[in-house]
């Protein structure tokens, strides 16, 4: 006897892989397995097609254990810790973010997320000077000048160009690519240079100087130098004219600015340029946010604590200080005494010293898949992968929330359920039921 095969097509699925957050995917499911994905790019397709590969298993100290026992062990570690760290949270969804913050508040933890090692400097820069910005819809419909700076969307955000910024046709850009001037500025040629009309190659670590120069030129100053960043001043003068002449300009930047010399101050200089250009035309800036739902965690953390990353709760109220409470610094100085890494591979991505410290303390990993972190974690709790096997909400890179669908089932609980159960166990272990700390954060 043959059992009829279950075949389904799930439409309007949101892709969790990159900050473009495409919400037009079509996923074909057969017998609980994903067989095909339509509309996605290669990266997005892989995320869905390989969702069953390399799954993590529940274990404690390397020995198989029940989820129940793992949650108990995790709660034990966290309830005892004096200066714990909760980190990761890029490849998950809004409700898990909220639960993670609730847990951090409960145990007096440091909480930080992947932004801290990618676009946190952008967040800091916005906090410093503000940002003139817009959604990708505005770019699609209006932008006639698109500049990519220190970014390689052709490889990292494959559908950004076709959906939002380069070839797409919009209300006031009916001819798509023909209606736009595209400029790529970077320290080396990449596939993004190929989709641009103009590529300007600058010397490494000269972005700050170039932004300052452009701003001074926009403000009508003459300068004493003949070249900046290895490019003749005249070329920068020409660029300023192109920028001022645009009807609607947008400058997208990437980690080429945020993770190189100067960090947030590079972005400050960029944003000041965009602001000054608004004396002549509409000119905006936006970071090209990379991995999954990193934007979401910054959103949720900001609405719950007032700060976008590097938050410390050890005194019962949120404090913010990158450099003091940011993950790389907490680990680099060897300060935290326990860590919960959720939906991110910290050990695989961190510098050796930080990874070394993580290996030396009680470590809990919550992840759908095996990673360098799960390999060494004392407690491993497998989770249903958000956007594939668990529903929720993710934020696109322009801060627009989009629903994530559950496409297939998983034998494991979702991130939010795991965190919720840990919270319940931590509370149960506490004689005074949390009264030690100040009032909890408002929910929602």
């Amino acid at each position: 006897m043959t059992v009829a095969k279950e075949m389904r097509v799930v439409k309007d699925v949101t892709c969790p892989f990159c900050g473009v957050t495409c919400d037009d995917l079509e996923v074909h499911v057969e017998d609980g397995k994903i067989r095909d994905v339509k509309n996605a790019c290669v990266l997005g397709k892989d995320t869905f097609l390989h969702h069953l590969e390399g799954l993590a298993t529940p274990r404690i100290d390397g020995k198989p254990a029940s989820i129940e026992a793992c949650i108990e062990a995790a709660a034990d570690i966290l309830a005892r810790a004096k200066y714990p760290l909760i980190y990761g949270l890029d490849s998950t969804e809004l409700h898990a973010h909220r639960k993670a913050i609730e847990l951090a508040d409960l145990i007096g933890a440091n909480i930080d997320h992947t932004s801290s090692v990618c676009h946190a400097p952008s967040l800091q820069a916005v906090q410093t000077v503000g940002i003139p910005s817009c959604t990708v819809g505005e770019v699609k419909n209006r932008a006639d000048l698109v500049i990519f700076w220190g970014a390689n969307p052709a490889e990292a955000h494959p559908r950004h160009a076709t959906r939002y910024s380069v070839t797409v046709k919009g209300m006031f850009t009916p001819q798509g690519r023909k209606d736009r001037t595209v400029i790529h500025i970077d320290v080396r040629r990449t596939p993004t240079s190929r989709m641009a009309d103009t590529f300007i190659q600058i010397k490494p670590h000269s972005d700050y100087e170039v932004f300052s120069t452009l701003t001074a030129l926009v403000n009508g100053h003459d300068l004493d130098v003949s070249e900046v960043g290895g490019v003749p001043l005249q070329e920068w003068r020409d660029l300023v004219e192109v920028m001022k002449g645009a009807k609607f300009g947008i400058l997208y930047w990437g980690m080429g600015l945020t993770m190189t010399r100067g960090k947030y101050l590079n972005v400050v200089a960029l944003l000041r340029l965009c602001q000054e250009l608004n004396r002549f035309t509409k000119f905006l800036g936006a970071p090209l946010r990379g991995h999954g739902n990193v934007v979401g965690m910054a959103q949720v953390l900001t609405w719950q604590t007032g700060f976008p990353f590097a938050v410390n709760m050890s005194r019962g109220y949120p404090r913010f200080n990158p450099g003091e409470f940011s993950v790389a610094d907490l680990l680099g100085r060897g300060e935290v005494d326990a860590a919960l890494i959720i939906a991110a591979d910290a050990i695989g991505n961190f510098p050796a010293k930080a990874a070394q410290h993580l290996k030396s303390i009680p470590l809990i990993a919550v992840d759908p898949k095996e990673s360098e972190t799960t390999k060494v974690a004392q407690v491993v709790i497998p989770a249903a992968q958000a956007a594939v096997a668990a529903e929720g909400v993710a934020y696109r890179m322009d801060h627009i929330p989009l629903p994530l669908k559950k496409v297939v089932d998983s034998p494991y609980p979702s991130d939010r359920e795991i965190l919720d159960r840990i919270i319940a166990r931590v509370l149960a272990k506490r004689p005074d039921d949390g009264a030690k700390r100040a009032a909890p954060l408002p929910r929602g």
Binding site: N219, H221, D224, G262, L265, E324, G334
Partner: protein
């Protein structure tokens, strides 16, 4: 009035930093020994007592002396208004941050944010300071708004960032972005400075005694012998902070940052 001597007993091998905000002359001068020992300190998420970490000698004094390795101890002298703290070793982050008066002497190195956002008083560091000394906390509009920071060693990144008033003197070197986005005030550096010194500055003076790469958005306006530098150096010497003799030296004056209002200056000693 005698001194209060606090000797650090260590943290039993723990690497979790200790937050010791109550250690200010303003508070300790009102307390007897038993009360001092019962002041709350934070060790991670645990609230403990000062007596758990320090042995206390003396009471009711605005003169405090700290002994032992304090490099993991934060927030000493934060917001202090009067009196004097002498730290006989290196000290952790935020020493003298937001202080409004009084004096702190550090006989060692200081962690990041030393004297951040201070508005008055004197912070004298015999060793080196970390990043953002005299600077603003993230999200604040202004850094130091008054007072003096003297650093005999070197300093890190963004020293004097967002500074609004006051004086920072560094005998050693500074890293990148010294005086970042400063609005007013003075920074003297006798060693070398890193890149982008004065980037985004609106007003204020940065006086350098070694050649540097000036940002393209600064323009050379003149070479002259500024009287105020001579007066500042004399004042520093009279306080016992030794500075090189520059007798009648001339300075190149660069105006900027032209990406902002451009009314700041970098003076570079020409010998």
């Amino acid at each position: 009035m005698g001194e209060i001597i606090l000797t650090f007993k260590g943290m039993g091998g723990s690497t979790v930093p200790l937050e010791a905000d109550p250690i200010t002359p303003d508070l300790l001068q009102l307390k007897v020994r038993a009360e001092i020992e019962r002041l709350p300190l934070y060790h991670g998420n645990e609230q403990l007592l000062l007596g758990d970490f320090f042995s206390v000698k003396g009471e009711r004094s605005n003169q405090i002396r700290l002994r032992g390795d304090l490099s993991q101890v934060k927030n000493i002298g934060v917001g202090m208004q009067t009196g004097r703290i002498v730290i006989e070793s290196s000290i952790g982050m935020h020493v003298g941050a937001r202080m409004t008066g009084g004096e702190i002497q550090v006989h060692g190195n200081a962690g990041d944010w030393a004297g951040a956002e201070m508005t008055g008083g004197l912070l004298w560091i015999n060793g080196s300071a970390g990043n953002r000394a005299g600077s603003a906390y993230r999200g604040s509009k202004y850094g130091m708004r008054g007072g003096v920071i003297l650093i005999e060693g070197s300093g890190g990144h963004e020293v004097g960032g967002y500074m609004r008033r006051g004086l920072i003197v560094v005998r050693g070197n500074l890293e990148d972005h010294a005086g970042a986005r400063m609005v007013a005030g003075s920074i003297f550096v006798f060693g070398r400075v890193g890149g982008r010194t004065g980037g985004g500055m609106k007003r204020g003076s940065i006086v350098c005694f070694n050649p540097l790469d000036v940002l393209p958005t600064f323009r050379l306006t003149s070479t002259y012998a500024p009287l105020f530098v001579t007066i500042y150096l004399r004042a520093l010497r009279s306080r016992g902070f030794s500075v090189p003799e520059i007798g009648g030296g001339r300075f190149a004056r660069y105006c900027g940052d032209l990406a902002e209002s451009g009314k700041g200056e970098i003076l570079v000693w020409q010998g």
